[in-house]
Amino acid sequence: CTPTVQIAAKDPITINLNVKVDHEIRVKVDKELDDIFSDDSGLF
């Protein structure tokens, strides 16, 4: 996303920050590792 920061009046400056924390990563990675370490992957 291309952020733009609006310089409000000279003083004060406005900053908008959005943070979204996603814990689902761990679950996704866990599933994919299961495939790597499955019997037929030939890697385990």
Binding site: L33, D34, F44
Partner: protein, 85 residues
């Protein structure tokens, strides 16, 4: 020689860093381990990139998983030595 057979014969075991390793010096097992670890590393790098994680994070998750999934009678590397599960 495939990895399952190598493990059953106690030639190869799993390490906490997500990679396999030879337990006894055996050239055929060594070649097999190198080949498999290279493939695993490629998978880990892809996973890390896709989920914006570091390689070492994926490797440690993989390590937890491989030690857990190691079958009874196969070997895992724990506290500095090879242990039979």
């Amino acid at each position: 020689l495939d990895i399952g057979e190598a493990k059953t014969r106690g030639l190869v075991g799993e390490k906490p860093d997500g990679y396999a390793a030879t337990i006894k010096s055996d050239p055929e097992a060594k070649a097999l381990v190198d080949e498999i670890n290279a493939k695993r590393k490629a998978n880990y790098q892809a996973l890390a990139k896709k989920n914006k994680l570091s390689l070492s994070q994926v490797e440690s998750l993989a390590g937890d998983k491989s030690l857990k999934k190691t079958a009874k009678g196969h070997y895992i590397y724990q506290n500095g030595r090879w242990v039979k599960k």
